[in-house]
């Protein structure tokens, strides 16, 4: 980040959740925001969903760090401001990968951030949806324990290897790591963030070195785990036989594509007329080996999707949770995404000023791929 981060140490004696909710309520009172996009428990208490709320009693029931991420937050934000900035000033509080996806969507013209203030929070990970669905109450308790101890052993596989779980790409960030007891860091990364702090009487002049060093340490550890797991995945899926075997159970339901925040096409190429052929074409292909899986082109879908979106993948893991056949899609796609983004020294959603590499070029580059 080229901007200088500015931080304040804020009293959080009432708990991190209550402190932030109070700040949000105060900011609505002062007219800094008109509404908040925050996670809430469903009436049946069996899940957490995003709610755009302006009513105080609703916001009081919000969760800034819910144990599940059934809907990737970027999809929620995009649904509100895809068609324009609207008149409401909205505060959005989400995990770093969701904020990164929102930034990426802004670059893709899928969301207008003019009236949105993005607030992220240090993230220990999120529970796999199947574990949560088995026993919601037990899971919530286990998650709260895990947050206390910053323990990622029960989180999504891609969360366990996430080295960007404290990355700041939005306007504000709530830093819980490295903070003294009963305090948190409120860190601003933009003009909007500075204004927020100013209007709420938060003086952004404190030293955030302890947060920075703790984050650096944890990211290093995660990066090592990440490299290791990615090597394992490469050997597991490497080569056409392993690839086909890994995706053999795929039923082409396309759930992964539809829950992905950066898969934005209203009509996906792989659902369009381009993949519908006359009967005898299919028969002709089947005759090649004497038998052909129907519908064919499962690998084309998976690798095609990789090619289309890996440059913007934020490794959130929504795809793996949604997969009806429990294929480790997120682990595979996040490994590929690291490679494709690494080619351009790009990190998806890191900054609004960085264009997506596929729509940019240099006159001299990548000479290793041409001849």
């Amino acid at each position: 980040m080229s901007k200088q981060l500015k931080g304040a140490i804020v009293n959080s004696k009432s708990g991190v959740q209550n402190t932030i909710i109070d700040l949000l309520l105060k900011s609505i009172e002062k007219g800094v925001f008109n509404a908040v996009l925050i996670s809430m428990k469903t009436p049946a208490k069996d899940s957490f969903v995003y709610v755009l709320a302006e009513d105080k009693s609703l916001i009081k029931d919000g969760f800034i760090l819910p144990p599940t991420m059934f809907v990737q937050g970027a999809k929620a934000v995009s649904s509100i401001t895809r068609l324009g900035k609207g008149n409401l000033k909205i505060a959005v509080i989400m995990r770093p990968c969701e904020v990164r996806a929102i930034i990426e969507l802004a670059k893709l013209g899928q969301t207008n951030l003019e009236n949105i203030t993005l607030i992220s929070i240090d993230c220990p990970g999120v529970l796999p949806s199947s574990d949560f669905l088995d026993n919601p109450d037990k899971s919530i308790k286990a998650f709260n324990e895990a947050v206390k101890n910053w323990d990622d052993s029960i989180m999504r596989p891609v969360c366990k290897i996430c080295d960007k779980s404290s990355m700041i790409s939005g306007d504000l960030h709530v830093g819980t790591l490295g903070a003294k007891k009963d305090t948190i860091f409120i860190i601003s990364n933009s003009e909007k963030g500075n204004e927020f702090a100013d209007k709420l009487g938060i003086n952004l002049k404190d030293n955030i070195d302890t947060w920075l060093s703790q984050v650096k340490k944890l990211s290093e550890e995660k990066r090592n785990k990440r490299k290791k797991l990615h090597e394992e995945i490469k050997s597991k899926i490497g080569g056409i036989n392993n690839l086909v075997e890994t995706f053999s159970q795929c039923i082409n339901c396309h759930n992964c594509m539809r829950v992905c925040p950066v898969c934005i096409c209203r009509l996906c190429y792989f659902d369009s007329d381009n993949v519908k052929f006359p009967a005898d074409d299919y028969l002709f292909r089947a005759k090649d080996k004497g038998s052909m899986r129907f519908l064919p082109d499962t690998m084309l879908f998976q690798m095609g999707r990789m090619m289309h979106m890996s440059i913007s993948c934020v490794s959130c893991g929504a795809c793996e949770d949604a997969c009806s056949m429990s294929i480790p899609v997120a682990q595979i796609f996040s490994m590929i995404a690291d490679e494709t983004q690494g080619l351009f020294d790009y990190v998806s959603g890191r900054s609004l000023d960085e264009p997506i590499p596929i729509v940019d070029y240099r006159k001299e580059e990548l000479s290793e791929v041409e001849d």
């Binding site: 469903t42 009436p43 969903v49 709610v51």
Partner: protein, 142 residues
């Protein structure tokens, strides 16, 4: 009507050739009926997609009325027959999901039936008043 009395909001889809004209006639004849109806003119009752009725219901409309020409008199020959079938389908779904099917109603009102229109409006308003406010108005998790 007292200040606190509940005046329901009833969305009425009225077909241009019959029921809308009938409603007009009720007006020009100065026949009184409760101010609960919000009319929407459609060319034919078969223009009414069941999704319109559903959306109105879920947005909190206390009642939804669909009114068209009498069967056999449709300006487009057959529209109201299809409308009747779609309405029967929607009623079944609304019943099966435990929603209040008395909040939706299908009536046939011809262009000369100003009295009937007022009667339908009055009866339906009374029926909906008994059901009270549609709680879908306040639901956040819809």
């Amino acid at each position: 009507m007292t200040k606190d009395e509940f005046m329901p909001k009833i969305i009425a889809f009225l077909c241009n050739w019959c029921s809308y004209a009938g409603a007009d006639l009720a007006g020009t004849s100065r026949i009184k009926y409760p101010p609960s109806i919000l009319p929407i003119r459609v060319m034919c009752s078969s223009r009414v997609d069941p999704l319109f009725i559903l959306k109105a219901y879920l947005n909190g409309a206390d009642g939804i009325l669909v009114a068209g020409c009498h069967p056999g008199d449709c300006h487009y020959q057959e529209g109201n027959y299809y409308a009747r079938r779609r309405f029967a389908m929607l009623k079944t779904i609304v019943d099966e999901t435990g929603l209040e099917s008395d909040r939706i109603r299908l009536s046939w009102v011809s262009a000369s039936e100003g009295q009937k229109y007022a009667k339908v409006a009055t009866e339906f308003t009374d029926q909906v008043k008994k059901l009270g406010n549609n709680s879908a108005k306040n639901k956040i998790f819809l």
